[in-house]
């Protein structure tokens, strides 16, 4: 089915569906239409998984059509083992977001649902684009629905948060555009594969690397360009937080794998220490900051930053290993770990934000001190919350463990102290997460409003239940995902270890 244009369907179906939703009326049509569109998109996206051939790194489901011929810009799509799982993560998350907003969004639900559907299509475009300008267009277009979601359905301080979010990310990406244009002049093409093979001088590589670092580092977000994330999360509605944490942050990690490592390998190697330093700072420094947050969303937002630190650490730790050991043996584990951490973080942080949304819908506060003893009134919810919290602490058997485990193992190969600092997450991560659980879920009921809480309904149970299953399955059996990504990641290592310097 959809032979030859599956990816286009995955991009345009939700966008067109979103426009239809927009006009289907707030009272009746919007919710079912949006759910239908997102569900159909999700099931179609499963064809990517079933039809994917894990052997080899070549792009699959390729589509090609000229777009702006004078600049050799093409509508060029394709996926490999790196981008395919991320598209699935996106299509799944969108279904859950539509379900999560079902009853809660009273203000202009049609526009709300439409924004998320359009965002879904655009993000699929980001992951599928094989032309760097096409990528850039999707990359920027994604900001618009997100801007609207926070700006309209957000909290009291949403204007500050939207502007900060927009300027921060936009600031990052303009430098990337300059780099892309520079490389176009060298390569004579905007195709990502061409940019990956064009030779560049060291100075050029360093500058391009830095521009990518800003663009993707803001997205991930990496310390010290992370401060937009807690604000955006706190102000965003639940759905906005979920898509932001679960999918949009991954675009940063994806960018490092698709752009930085293959396009400027020599600069990546040269500046790997910087990225590793930033990643470790994210893990340790941000962990301590998460510990002292009073707002649940802020706490989870900071915890996201710390967890994403493992992604960038896993990607870049390969360079010190090569410097140490003289071969790239074993570095694959770091990349695998980083990728799995991205997917897993999508499930876990999405679930955490949904859980906070469940509480917020009932209590209209995110202050931790307002809670306590929730398990007395909402035992089902408490069980799921504790499961996700444990996944957040990286408990083996949940998906949160897999990536951290792999990255820690690999980083020991690079240096004892890198592993040492990365492993502190075991303690710090457990401290802030379990302290949150203790103060919110356990204890006696002190706030009379908590005493009136009603346990999660079927819809909420379904959403969280689906995520719980994914968290457990990925934790207990990551091999299918590992297998799918394997050849593509091996190829990235090959590219990253092959010098592109001009002789």
């Amino acid at each position: 089915m959809f032979d030859g244009y599956l990816l286009s369907v995955l991009i345009w179906l939700p966008i067109i569906g979103g426009i239809v939703t927009l006009f289907s009326g707030d009272t009746l049509g919007a919710r079912p239409v949006a759910l239908l569109v997102s569900a159909v998109t999700f099931f179609i996206s499963l064809l990517l998984w079933t039809g994917f051939n894990p052997e080899g790194y070549q792009m699959q489901f390729v589509e090609f059509a000229p777009w702006i011929e004078s600049f050799k810009i093409n509508y060029h799509l394709g996926v490999d083992g790196i981008s395919m799982p991320l598209i699935l993560l996106n299509t799944l998350t969108t279904v859950l977001i539509i379900l999560a907003g079902w009853e809660v969004i009273k203000h202009k639900p049609a526009q709300y649902m439409a924004a998320f559907l359009i965002m879904e299509g655009v993000i699929n475009g980001v992951f599928a684009a094989q032309d760097s300008i096409l990528f850039y267009v999707f990359f920027e277009a994604m900001l618009i629905p997100m801007f609207i979601v926070i700006g309209i359905w957000g909290g009291d301080n949403r204007i500050y948060a939207t502007i900060k979010f927009f300027l921060y990310t936009f600031f990052g990406s303009v430098f990337m555009l300059v780099s892309l244009i520079y490389m176009y002049n060298q390569a004579g093409s905007f195709a990502i594969t061409d940019l990956q093979s064009v030779k560049l001088s060291m100075t050029a590589q360093i500058l391009i690397f830095l521009s990518f670092l800003v663009a993707f580092g803001v997205k991930v977000p990496m310390w010290p360009v992370h401060t937009w994330l807690p604000d955006a999360h706190v102000q965003a509605p639940t759905g906005g937080s979920v898509i932001l944490a679960a999918v949009m942050l991954k675009i940063g990690g994806y960018g490092f794998l698709r752009f930085s490592l293959p396009m400027v390998p020599d600069a990546s190697s040269e500046l790997a220490w910087l990225v590793i330093f930033m990643s470790l700072t994210a893990i340790v420094y941000i962990g301590f900051i998460a510990l002292v947050q009073n707002d649940m969303k802020k706490l989870v937002a900071y915890s996201s930053i710390a967890h994403m630190g493992f992604v960038t650490l896993g990607f870049f730790v390969l360079f010190p290993i090569i410097a140490n050991m003289g071969s790239s043996e074993g570095t694959l584990l770091g990349l695998q770990g980083g990728m799995i951490q991205m997917v897993s973080h999508g499930f876990i942080s999405g679930a955490m934000f949904l859980c906070i949304g469940v509480l917020y819908d009932r209590m209209h506060t995110r202050e931790i001190t307002a809670y306590g003893g929730v398990s007395n009134r909402m035992p089902k919810f408490a069980a799921l919350f504790v499961l996700f919290a444990m996944a957040n602490t990286g408990l083996p058997g949940t998906s949160g463990f897999v990536g951290e485990f792999m990255v820690i193992l690999t980083s020991f190969k690079a240096n004892f102290w890198i592993a040492f600092l990365a492993t502190t997450t075991l303690i710090i991560g457990a401290a802030y997460t379990l302290w949150l659980v203790k103060r919110v879920i356990f204890g006696a009921v002190t706030n009379p409003k908590v005493a009136e809480l009603i346990d999660i309904n079927k819809r909420e149970t379904l959403i969280l239940g689906i995520l719980a299953i994914f968290v457990l399955v990925l934790g207990l059996w990551p091999e299918p995902l590992v297998h799918v990504m394997n050849d593509s990641l091996v190829h990235v290592i090959e590219q990253a270890t092959t010098s592109k310097l001009v002789n």
Binding site: T227, L291, V292, G330, P379, A444, W477, E479, V482
Partner: protein, 667 residues
């Protein structure tokens, strides 16, 4: 055979899942039936496997295969594993039965308005079965990844069970503390695993052990200029994990607090099985530990310190469960000492006997607690002997086993440990020997202090409690009897477990640490097994540990039954010692102030100075402000008045003309 291996943990897991997810549907009876059935099958099959006595090492499924490393879920079945499996499933089965009685009216433990008590009975069964599953995965593992899974999974269940009565502030503080302190241990453990993977390229036990000779002499510079032996780093990292799980000083602080959990789990998790995971792990890794004298010395010293100083605290405790908890700490110290002395089989042997008699003691304490209507203060008990004969006699058996009274299991296992340390000659062995020797007196003293205060002497409880005093239901007393049997007889397996070749090929010791060989040599004085045993007992009767134990019992009897004024006198004169012990050497205060407090201060400081001031204040909002300021300045130029623009044009023309006329000639 492989199907049996899979069935053993799985049947416990299935029971747990059914009781946990469908607890409200199947009801209380359904929940305990299904979990009992699950664990019962596990226990039965474990015994089958024990007698089958074949070695198995194989993978069940590939968890992930990355590059040359395959991470598998698999089993390694040898004699160490099977022994652990039988101990775990047997004690677990007893605890399951006991729980039927202990948790019968759990509803009372929950506030009126809490839904937590609705299915708490089913939930409890689900948790203890889940624990059994996790512990089995831990001991049956054939690789470090799965070991770590089991390691943390038992920690999770321990967390859930310590905080089981989640409306109590002390309980939810204790469970978080337990998890975090264990995480400090796991921090080391995971680093150790990472080191192993880095240098051997595998996490599979067999492959790692095979590749040990290649890394034996590698040194690392962790601190520049300091060359450390890699195997020492690995061994110490792994042992830090064991220190967390097996509650060794200074990571012991969580175990006494874990007594906040219901008593059945104190017996199962915090006495018999989970806390011995560290001992098991070090024994399993004996090929690694044998390569590092540094690590062994550290183990010896840490264990000896725990054995003696934690026992001391037991003397001043008045909560019946806490006395047993400190005794557990102390006994874990004994096992650790044996590990440090390279007498792994002694450690494992004591692990086994301890599992039986300590589970027995805890369950007996629980029986007393039920009878006393959840009063745990031994100062409010006394004279319970006549009301609870079964509990009394089984407690006596447990206590005698604990203090190492001849012919009881602890006698053999503890004597072997003391003998082993005596034979050891690595750094710290002398210190350890004296600590474990003096510890024998302490153990006997606190054990019988508690025993006498609870079961003998005047009846100090209030009239209401006294009226209702009686032996609890059969489901409570039967497990006591069932555990009393191995608490006596399991000691007779010293041959072949320690002084025989039972663990040959499973536990390794290098030729430089021939402790077990020496002991075996001493033991085998004749051809007759019976004569050997008799000689061992006779020798024990004439050696210091026996007399120290006897004088401990006698002192406890004299001080607490005969002349209580002495206790008061000692309390008055040695107030500072009492305070020091009562405050547990101020370890909790130190941790709360330095680590917990320090982390919060650090977090707040970083947040205020780093995120809010530097990044957001100066960089982000600062650049926004500069932009704003700049535009506000520039804005003044664009006034919109035509004559302003006209004036500036004239100024401009004037400037250019001046430059052309006066300046240009110099160019």
């Amino acid at each position: 055979m492989q199907a049996i291996y899979i069935a053993i943990p799985l049947s416990a897991l299935i029971g747990s899942i059914i009781a946990g997810l469908f607890g409200s549907i199947i009801g209380r009876k359904g929940a305990h039936t299904v979990t009992l059935l699950g664990v019962g099958i596990s226990c039965l099959l474990s015994i089958v496997v024990l007698f089958d006595d074949t070695y198995f090492n194989g993978s069940v499924y590939t968890w992930a295969k990355v590059g040359d490393t395959s991470f598998d879920v698999g089993f390694m079945i040898d004699r160490l594993t099977t022994m652990m499996m039988v101990v775990v499933t047997f004690v677990s089965l007893m605890v399951h039965v006991y729980t039927i009685g202990y948790m019968e009216d759990d509803k009372h433990n929950w506030p009126e308005d809490s839904r937590g008590g609705d299915n708490s009975y089913q939930r409890f069964f689900s948790y203890i079965s889940l624990f059994t599953f996790s512990m089995l995965m831990l001991v049956m593992s054939n690789n470090f990844m799965q070991l770590f899974f089991g390691w943390e999974a038992v920690g999770l269940v321990s967390y859930l069970l310590i905080g089981f009565w989640s409306t109590r502030d002390t309980a939810i503080f204790a469970n978080m503390k337990a998890f975090l302190v264990n995480r400090v241990g796991d921090f080391g453990f995971l680093l150790g695993i990472a080191a192993i993977w880095t240098y051997t390229g595998s996490v599979d036990y067999k492959e790692v052990f095979e590749r040990l000779p290649n890394i034996e002499h590698i040194t690392l510079q962790i601190i520049p200029g300091q060359e450390w032996l890699l195997v020492s780093i690995i061994a110490i990292c792994l042992f830090i994990g064991a220190m967390g799980k097996s509650a060794q000083v200074p990571l012991h602080v969580w175990l006494p607090d874990s007594m906040e959990g219901p008593t059945p789990i104190s017996a199962l998790i915090h006495a018999a099985t989970m806390v011995t995971a560290g001992i098991f792990m070090v024994s399993r890794m004996s090929p690694i530990f044998e390569l590092s004298d540094t690590a062994l010395s550290m183990i010896l010293i840490v264990g000896a310190t725990t054995a003696f100083f934690m026992g001391m605290i037991g003397i001043v405790q008045n909560d019946i469960k806490r006395v047993v908890a400190y005794s557990t700490l102390s006994q874990l110290g004994y096992m650790t000492v044996a590990l440090g002395a390279s007498a792994y089989s002694s450690a494992v042997f004591h692990l086994m006997t301890h599992a039986f008699f300590k589970a027995l003691l805890f369950l007996a304490a629980g029986s007393v607690i039920i009878a006393m209507h959840h009063e745990q203060d031994i100062r409010k008990m006394g004279g319970l002997k006549k009301y609870m004969p079964i509990t009394y006699w089984t407690s006596l058996i447990g206590s005698l086993a604990l203090i190492g009274f001849p012919f009881f299991s602890g006698f053999f296992s503890k004597d072997l440990i003391i003998e082993s340390v005596h034979e050891a000659d690595i750094f710290g062995a002398h210190y350890a020997y004296w600590m474990v020797l003096l510890g024998v007196f302490i153990t006997a003293f606190y054990s019988f202090r508690m025993f006498f205060l609870v079961f003998h002497g005047e009846e100090r409880m209030d009239a209401h409690t006294k009226e209702h005093l009686h032996e609890p239901a059969n489901v409570v007393t039967w497990p006591l009897i069932a555990l009393a049997v191995p608490a006596v007889v399991s000691g007779y397996f010293l041959y072949p477990m320690v002084v025989g070749d039972y663990f040959e090929g499973v536990i390794y010791f290098s030729e430089e640490h021939p402790v077990i060989e020496t002991i075996s040599h001493h033991y085998h004085v004749s051809e007759s097994g019976f004569l050997n045993l008799l000689t061992f007992v006779m020798h024990g009767l004439m050696s210091p540990p026996f007399w120290l134990a006897m004088s401990g019992v006698a002192s406890a009897w004299f001080i607490y039954l005969k002349k209580p004024s002495i206790a008061q006198f000692g309390y008055d004169k040695l107030r500072w010692v009492h305070t020091l012990l009562d405050k547990k050497y101020f370890a909790d205060e130190f941790n709360m102030a330095v680590f917990a407090g320090g982390a919060l201060v650090l977090g707040k400081g970083l947040w205020a100075a780093g995120d809010r001031f530097l990044i957001d204040g100066v960089m982000v909002n600062g650049s926004a402000k500069i932009t704003g300021w700049f535009s506000s300045v520039v804005r003044h130029i664009q006034t919109g008045y035509l004559y302003h623009y006209a004036f500036s044009i004239i100024l401009g023309v004037l400037a250019i003309m001046s430059w052309l006329v006066f300046g240009a000639k110099y160019v």
